[in-house]
Symmetry: C2
Subunit: 367 residues, 2 copies
Amino acid sequence: FATSSSAIRIGLIPADGIGREVIPAAQRVLEALPNGPKFDFVHLDAGFEHFQKTGTALPQSTVDTLKNECHGALFGAVSSPSHKVAGYSSPIVALRKHLDLYANVRPVISVKSASTPNQKELDMLIIRENTECLYIKSERIEQDPKTGLKVAYADRKISEYASKRIGAMAFNMALTRQKLREQKPLAQRFWKHAPRVTIVHKSNVMSVTDGLFRETVRAVKESNPELYSGVDMDEQLVDSMVYRMFREPEAFDVVVAPNLYGDIISDGAAALVGSLGVVPSANVGDSFVMGEPVHGSAPDIAGKGIANPIAAIRSAGLLLEHMGHTAHALAMYDAVNAVLADASVLTPDLGGKSSTNDVVEAVLKHL
Amino acid sequence: FATSSSAIRIGLIPADGIGREVIPAAQRVLEALPNGPKFDFVHLDAGFEHFQKTGTALPQSTVDTLKNECHGALFGAVSSPSHKVAGYSSPIVALRKHLDLYANVRPVISVKSASTPNQKELDMLIIRENTECLYIKSERIEQDPKTGLKVAYADRKISEYASKRIGAMAFNMALTRQKLREQKPLAQRFWKHAPRVTIVHKSNVMSVTDGLFRETVRAVKESNPELYSGVDMDEQLVDSMVYRMFREPEAFDVVVAPNLYGDIISDGAAALVGSLGVVPSANVGDSFVMGEPVHGSAPDIAGKGIANPIAAIRSAGLLLEHMGHTAHALAMYDAVNAVLADASVLTPDLGGKSSTNDVVEAVLKHL
Ligand SMILES: CC(C)[C@H](C(=O)O)[C@@H](O)C(=O)O
Ligand SMILES: CC(C)[C@H](C(=O)O)[C@@H](O)C(=O)O
């Protein structure tokens, strides 16, 4: 990197709506970490609002700065235009591709509190393939010359290359999670069995593409029996996965899925832990990590100061975790869990009356 | 039709696993309808077990008999081989295509009972496009000449033709449901607003294919303002749909979706009403209807006599409803709802101890 300082340089891309409120919140928590690393924050543009102002949703300078000057990034949320807008394309999908952030890592963990005694126990890590499937955006439209009616096609790509590296990520994370549980049994960690990887697919219909995904991920375990023999492996058809996740969420440890299924499953899992406002993600590549809350830009509450900052704070924790600063990440998770368990300072999405700022203050107190 | 009798001729295709238990159960209820029509049942082969015995999953004779001799059909469930089996292809997907059953109509309705007082109120009709999307099974696999690694592609097709007719089905069913609610306010019907159609898509990523689906369905309403002005219209991205469905299931009336999203959403909705064992579907074409429970062949409980027959019985009701025998269909729904509300005779999937046969007897008593 061109930077000579020893600080960790983080690109901040709040983008649209509540992204502008939750990214600064996460930044404050990072800056307050006791004995934490020194951070250098770089503010970068992207998003639908930026597109409306400038005609580009993802400036080349943002990509270049991330690639050449940053160790990692935090992305806020992006608004989706409800109508097709010529020239607009989702900047988050583009960033994942440009930086080869091939894994979208989404832990979904329930927190019991006095106010949610019936909360199901959930301690699941969704590993979503982040570069291909229908997200390659290879689409075309034709007009039937006879009827004049339109017919559109999209290509869905599943490669052995991408399936293998996402499979390896899933098995490795299953082992890492186990190690962390042994080292530091967090109060709020529920998985109590041998590590397990559940492969999600729909190979009963897409025998070629999902068949390749399924076989390639299975082969990861078989290719290294010494390393992975302690990791159980099973599978679920995607429709059945959504059903089972709601009926028996406690049956899942690490779940690995092609891009679109992973997108859908993680929103479903978020519903099980009370709010999208608490579910974080990290877009992980071999040399770059970008934290990103799973929620959207929430235009209905943007600017009101009541957005839940927890997903963004946890995403900053994931960023540190995947950069190797595990102890600091755990400190952030513990602080957030303490606030959730206490349940007296919660934003409206969780049934509370507190503001974004109140929640940040509460988290800082528990650091 | 070649048949000269005035009976309604129904093809029965139990196929695999518990399909062999629940289809006869549904048949018994049809036969017991007070002042019901005369039925002629034709037993037909299909399924994975049939494939293993004969090398074909869907005999041409089954298709021909359905097309040339039957007024409608009931399909049980089909087992999916866990590994790719050369020459095997899902008979249910093929039947939908051969008979041009372009709409998969899936009502998901909660029933309150003493044993489920906290059951959320849900009265949703999922209209799933049934002929295209990734289900066209146009897939190919290549090998990268440099790396030797495999790359697979699937085509996803969305046509204006299919989107328009599924959109029309959605708006028409929204009106039909309203009419039925006015005519005969069932105790267990919860939708209390103006009829509403929610369009599910992911046009923020697939702007061309899902964009076409979205625009075409929207155009259905605009094309006939006189007929559809009383039907509200909104939309949900598929990931957000799964989230919202679990948080506010009472917000949905008719939901229309491309094939795969519809598949996933309906399993999710089933989790909200207690069991896949109660959710029916009808595969509807312009001149043929095939009832089909949403559940699978459940090899784990097959042959034990404890499969829940309710999804199959409701599917037989849907078959009658879509053939125009609405009063008989409502009688079947009422009988099933009475058994569920009473909650003393339930199969194990609903927490009960009763057998398939016990539930059939209970339904017959309420007819
Ligand atoms: C905004 C959208 C393109 C994105 C996705 O589908 O990946 C979002 O839903 C997510 O989950 O990060
Ligand atoms: C068995 C399978 C091919 C089928 C589908 O995906 O359509 C099933 O899940 C269903 O919902 O009817």
